[in-house]
C-alpha cells in the first residue's frame, strides 16, 4: 500500500501538531528552562518541517496506490497475520500457550497454502518446542491451559 509523498507529508504535519498539543499538559520544572515538553516539541518541529518539505516537493499523483496482491486471495493471507496475532492475545489466557500457538500455526499454514497433515505436524512440533525453550528452559510463565494441565 503506497501513499504519495504529499499524503505522507500531510500526515507528518498532523502528527507534529498532535505531539505539540500533547505536550501542553506537561508541567514545567521550577528554575529549569528545558522541561519534559522541550524534546518532544523539538521533534514535532522537525517533523513538521519534513512533512512540509515532502508535501510541497512532490509531484501530484494518486494519494494511495494499492498493490496487485491486495485485489487477490493473497490479501487474505496478509490479513490473517494481524488477525491471528489478536486472536492469540484473546484466546491464550483461556486455551494456554501450546493450544493457542498450535492453532495459530496450523491456521496460518492452511491460509498460506500448506497441507493439513504437514501443517498439523509443524503446529504440534513447534508449539511444543517453543514451550520447552521458553517455559521449561528459560522458566517464563507462559499462559497455562488445557494441554499444560495434562503435563503438570
Amino acid at each position: 500500500m503506497q501513499f504519495s509523498n504529499r499524503f505522507i507529508g500531510i500526515v507528518a504535519v498532523i502528527g507534529a501538531i498532535a505531539i505539540v498539543y500533547g505536550t501542553f499538559g506537561f508541567r514545567a520544572i521550577p528554575g529549569q528552562q528545558f522541561g519534559s515538553a522541550f524534546f518532544p516539541r523539538i521533534t514535532a518541529g522537525c517533523l513538521a518541517l519534513v512533512g512540509v518539505a515532502m508535501a510541497c516537493g512532490s509531484p501530484s499523483g494518486p494519494w494511495i496506490t494499492l498493490p496487485d496482491w491486495m485485489r487477490s486471495h493473497r490479501a487474505l493471507r496478509a490479513a490473517a497475520l494481524p488477525l491471528g496475532g489478536i486472536t492469540w492475545v484473546l484466546l491464550a489466557p483461556y486455551l494456554g500457550f501450546i493450544l493457542a500457538t498450535g492453532l495459530l500455526i496450523l491456521a496460518l499454514v492452511l491460509v498460506t497454502g500448506g497441507r493439513l497433515l504437514a501443517g498439523l505436524g509443524v503446529a504440534v512440533g513447534l508449539s511444543l518446542l517453543l514451550h520447552v525453550i521458553f517455559s521449561v528452559l528459560l522458566r517464563i510463565p507462559l499462559p497455562f491451559g488445557l494441554v499444560e494441565g495434562w503435563f503438570s
Binding site: 524534546f39 517533523l47 489478536i86 500457538t101 521458553f134 522458566r139
Partner: protein, 490 residues
C-alpha cells in the same frame, strides 16, 4: 594477560559454546532462507538472550549475525534472491557462476572471504576499540550528545536512499523514545493513561515487530514458485589457489568493510556495495563483472563480514550503533545493566575481551558450519514458505510475550509491525526509527544534563575542542544532502 585468560575462561564454558553453536545453526538456517534477514534473526534471538548471562547472550548474537550474513549468499547464488541485503551487491556474479555449473565455487569463495573479512574486522575491533575507549574517557555529556546526534544523523541521512524519508523515520523513533515517564521531571508523556506505557514502549517487541513482521508480510503476499536448486560439487576444490591469486581483493575488501563498518550508521550492506564498486574500478577486467567473475564476490563478501565485526567499535566505545544489529545489541546491553561506553572497558574489561574472543570463534566456525550449510542448502531451499513463515510469526509472538509476561508486548509488536510494513512499502527505512528509539533517551539526557551544567548556556556545546569538531561533523552531515541537491539542479 590475566584479563585475556579471564575472558577465555568466560567463553570456553560449556553453556557459552553450546549457545554459540545453536545460534550459529539458527543463523545459517535463517540466512539461507530467502527473505529472512540477519537483522530479523537477531531480533528473534533477543527474547531468548534476555534471560542469559551477558557473555553467552552477546556471543550468540555475534555468531548468529556472522552466520546469517554468509548464509544469505546461498539463495543469492542458487536462486538470484539475496538472502540478506548485504549479499545483494554481488548476487549477479554469484548466480552467474552457479549457472555456469560452479555453485560450490561461488559459495566456497564467499564463505572463505566472509571468514577472512570477519577475522580482520575483529582484529580492527580489538585494536581500535580499547584505544578509542581510552580517548573517550575524557568525554562529557556534551560530547556524548554530539555523538548520539552524529550516529542518528548518519543513519537517517547518509545510509539511506531518500534522506527526507530517513529523517522522518528517525523523528518517529525519537517520539516513541519520549513515551513514558520523563526521568528528569517525573512527568508521564504520551501514555494515554495506560500504566503499561509508563515505563515507555518496550524496545524488544517494537524491534521484533518493525524488523520481522514486514518480512513475513512481504513473503506471505508473494507468489510462491517451485524452487529447484542445482546440485553441488566439492566446496573446497581449487579454493586455496583462487584465494591466493585474489589475495589483494581479499585484503582490500576486508579492510574496506572493516573501516566502513566502524562508521556510525553504516552497515554491512553499504560496505559490500562500496567494496564491489572498488573491486570493479581496480580490476584489470571490469567487463567481466556481473557475468560470474570472482573478484567482486571475494572483495564484497569479505567486506560485509568485516563490517559486521567492526560495527561494534562505535557500539562498545561510545554506545553509538554501527548498524541495525548493533542498535539491537545496545538495547540488550542496557537491559542487562551494562551501559556501553568507555567505562565498560575499565569496569568489566574481561567481558569486552570475551566478546572479542566470541567474535573470533564465530568467524572461525564459518568454515565448518558454512561447508555444512552449503551441502544442506538444496534441502533448505525447497521448504515451502507456508510452513516456516507461521513458525517465524509464532516466534515473534512468544518473544514479545516473554519480555514482560504480558500480552501487551504482543500488541506492541503487532502495531509496530504494521507501522514497519507501511514504512517499507513507502520506501521509509526502518533502521533510523529503531536507532531513534534506542538513542532518543541518551540524546535527551545528555542535552538536559549539559544545559543544567551550563545553567542554560547553549555555548557549552562548542566549549571544548572535541565537542566543536563533532558539532561541525554533524553540521556537515546535515548540509551534505543540500549541497548534493544544489549540484544536481545546477
Amino acid at each position: 594477560m590475566s584479563i585475556l585468560t579471564e575472558a577465555l575462561a568466560l567463553v570456553l564454558q560449556a553453556d557459552v559454546l553450546i549457545t554459540v553453536i545453536l545460534a550459529s545453526l539458527l543463523g545459517l538456517t535463517i540466512g539461507a532462507i530467502p527473505g529472512l534477514t540477519a537483522v530479523m534473526g537477531v531480533a528473534l534471538l533477543i527474547p531468548i538472550t534476555f534471560f542469559m548471562d551477558p557473555v553467552p547472550a552477546i556471543s550468540a548474537i555475534a555468531a548468529l549475525a556472522a552466520m546469517a550474513i554468509f548464509a544469505g549468499d546461498i539463495p543469492g547464488a542458487l536462486l538470484r534472491i539475496p538472502g540478506t541485503p548485504a549479499s545483494a551487491a554481488y548476487v549477479q556474479d554469484a548466480h552467474a557462476m552457479a549457472k555456469q555449473g560452479q555453485p560450490e565455487r561461488a559459495l566456497g569463495l564467499s564463505m572463505a572471504a566472509a571468514c577472512v573479512g570477519g577475522v580482520i574486522g575483529v582484529i580492527l575491533l580489538m585494536v581500535a576499540a580499547p584505544l578509542l575507549a581510552k580517548f573517550a574517557t575524557n568525554f562529557s555529556s556534551v560530547e556524548y550528545f554530539w555523538l548520539a546526534l552524529l550516529g542518528l544523523s548518519c543513519a537517517a541521512i547518509v545510509s539511506t536512499g531518500a534522506p527526507l524519508k530517513g529523517v522522518l523515520s528517525l523523528l518517529f523513533g525519537l517520539w516513541v523514545a519520549s513515551i513514558g515517564i520523563d526521568e528528569v521531571a517525573g512527568q508521564p508523556r504520551f501514555t494515554f493513561g495506560s500504566t503499561e506505557l509508563m515505563g515507555g514502549v518496550s524496545f524488544i517487541p517494537a524491534m521484533i515487530g518493525m524488523f520481522a513482521i514486514p518480512e513475513i508480510l512481504r513473503n506471505i503476499t508473494q507468489t510462491q514458485t517451485k524452487i529447484t536448486p542445482p546440485t553441488m560439487g566439492p566446496v573446497f576444490r581449487g579454493l586455496g589457489t583462487t584465494l591466493a591469486r585474489r589475495r589483494t581483493n581479499l585484503l582490500r575488501g576486508s579492510l574496506t568493510g572493516s573501516m566502513i563498518g566502524a562508521l556510525p550508521g553504516a552497515g554491512a550492506d553499504i560496505a559490500a556495495w562500496v567494496a564491489y564498486a572498488v573491486a570493479k574500478r581496480r580490476s584489470k577486467t571490469p567487463e567481466k563483472f556481473g557475468e560470474g567473475h570472482d573478484e567482486g564476490i571475494i572483495e564484497a563478501g569479505a567486506a560485509n563480514n568485516g563490517a559486521l565485526s567492526s560495527a561494534w567499535v562505535p557500539t562498545l566505545v561510545f554506545g553509538i550503533p554501527g548498524d541495525s544489529i548493533t542498535a539491537i545489541v545496545i538495547g540488550v546491553l542496557y537491559l542487562k545493566g551494562l551501559e556501553p561506553g568507555p567505562i565498560i572497558f575499565t569496569k568489566t574489561p574481561e567481558l569486552v575481551y570475551a566478546i572479542f574472543i566470541a567474535f573470533f570463534l564465530a568467524n572461525l566456525l564459518l568454515i565448518p558450519f558454512g561447508w555444512l550449510i552449503i551441502r544442506a542448502s538444496r534441502h533448505l531451499l525447497t521448504i515451502k514458505a507456508a510452513y516456516y513463515l507461521p513458525v517465524v510469526f509464532a516466534c515473534c509472538i512468544v518473544g514479545s510475550f516473554a519480555i514482560n509476561n504480558t500480552a501487551f508486548g504482543v500488541v506492541v509488536m503487532l502495531l509496530f509491525g504494521l507501522i514497519g510494513w507501511l514504512f517499507e512499502e513507502n520506501g521509509i527505512p526502518v533502521a533510523p526509527a529503531i536507532l531513534g528509539i534506542v538513542l532518543g533517551g541518551m540524546l535527551e539526557f545528555n542535552f538536559v544534563t549539559s544545559m543544567l551544567k551550563s545553567d542554560g548556556d547553549l555555548l557549552i556545546f562548542v566549549s571544548r575542542p572535541i565537542a566543536t569538531a563533532l558539532g561541525l561533523t554533524v553540521l556537515a552531515v546535515w548540509i551534505w544532502p543540500l549541497v548534493k541537491l544544489v549540484r544536481i539542479r545546477t
